[in-house]
Amino acid sequence: MNAISQLLEAALFSADHPLTVDELRRLLPEGSDEELQARLEELREHYEVGGHGVELIEVGDGYQVVSRRHLAEAIAEARIVARPRKLSRAALETLAVIAYRQPVSRAQIEDIRGVSVEGVLRSLQERGVVEVVGRADGLGRPLLYGTTPALLELLGVRTLEELPRLEELSVALRPPTEAGELGEP
């Protein structure tokens, strides 16, 4: 491993979040972006070919070293790391509405889900995957909610565009009115 890959690896092992290209660039002020990309690729391959227990992945707009999925069970069983708590059905549905409709008010979410979402919205905010992104015009100026980069990290995706496109959903029947359709995430 050359000195730059070494530094990149050390940094990825010292950070509690995916490192963005901006952050990584600060590590090698003299290196070009091409060099950075090449070194990251080298590190990724090294983990791959060497049969390491960790891998380099892209999450959100950053790079992150994570342990390999097939080892999770043994590690969790040895009580070394606990798997994160699963989101409830209500939380997942609320997240889905926000992801496809953001920015969206609480009343709009409740309209689509048919239930009150006050509690679940708060817990999604506490978990950091949803945040207030603004206020609507109009009566009462209700708060508008959107998803955060932490959601990308929760899902292990690079952008919300990796969420299923509505054409791909098995609910093939189209709502009778245009207004009912969900926007793209």
């Binding site: 010292s14 798997r83 549905e93 889900r113 292990g156 969420l163 009778p176």
Partner: protein, 245 residues
């Protein structure tokens, strides 16, 4: 909540466990899909009855959303019974809005399944568990937005107490307390700044107590106070650490 047995028209009744549903739309969709009903032509009278049957076991505090849906179903049922105008073109199906909501909700349900699957797969990739404390750096940058500030204002005003008189209570120096606190901090941390040593309370009494405690500890040889460069900040370390470092 317990399970309800739902009576269907011609087949065997099936059992619905309400806690398995995330809301009235979820329950409604379940009734429709379970009986393989064409969503474009919902037999509203039958579905409304089954819906009411299913929610009989609901407790009052969780019933509101379901009752609202029940009322809507009954309203549609009545509208369906009204004679249709001769001009068929102009007739608007009273079920249209419900169908639209159901389909929209069904999409959401499918996305929720996808999210659940994806999150579950990714949860098997553990991220780095231990990261070093950033050494001697300015405090972390913070992220704050106008919206957050506004929400805070509102929450605060809601919880605003009655005006209180501000009282000033003179306190004696507490060198012993400060000594214990500083030693306690050094149990868990390698190094302290002067501010750390003084602690949260910043009254003149607290500052004096902390300074006297530091001087006494240094005199006893239990800590070392160092300054890396002239006018730099003071660093406080345990003497034992210095010996082994």
């Amino acid at each position: 909540m317990t399970a309800t047995s739902i009576t269907t028209t011609n087949e065997t009744p099936f059992v619905v466990r309400l806690e398995a549903f995330s809301g009235p739309l979820d329950l409604l969709l379940h009734l429709i899909r379970e009986q393989e009903i064409d969503i474009a032509d919902i037999p509203i009278a039958r579905i409304a009855d089954q819906f009411l049957e299913a929610i009989q076991v609901l407790e009052l505090n969780e019933a509101a959303d379901y009752l609202e849906m029940a009322a809507q179903l009954l309203r549609i049922k009545i509208q369906m019974l009204l004679p249709q105008p001769f001009d068929d073109e102009a007739w608007e199906d009273p079920r249209a809005e419900l169908v639209r909501r159901l389909l929209e909700y069904e999409q959401i349900r499918e996305v929720a399944d996808w999210l659940s699957q994806q999150a579950s797969e990714h949860s098997g990739r553990f991220t780095r568990g231990w990261v070093p404390e950033p050494p001697q750096l300015p405090p972390r940058p913070i992220a704050v937005s106008v919206e957050e500030l506004l929400v805070a204002v509102e929450q605060m005003v809601e919880a605003m107490p009655e005006p209180m008189l501000h009282r000033v209570v003179p306190r004696p120096l507490d060198v012993e307390g400060a000594t214990q606190r500083i030693l306690g901090l050094l149990e868990t941390r390698e190094e302290l700044s002067l501010l750390d040593a003084i602690g949260e309370a910043r009254g003149i009494v607290d500052v004096l107590s902390a300074l006297l405690a530091l001087l006494e500890l240094a005199r006893l040889g239990r800590i070392r106070i160092a300054q890396r460069k002239a006018f730099g900040s003071l660093r406080i370390k345990r003497e034992r650490d210095l010996a082994t470092a």
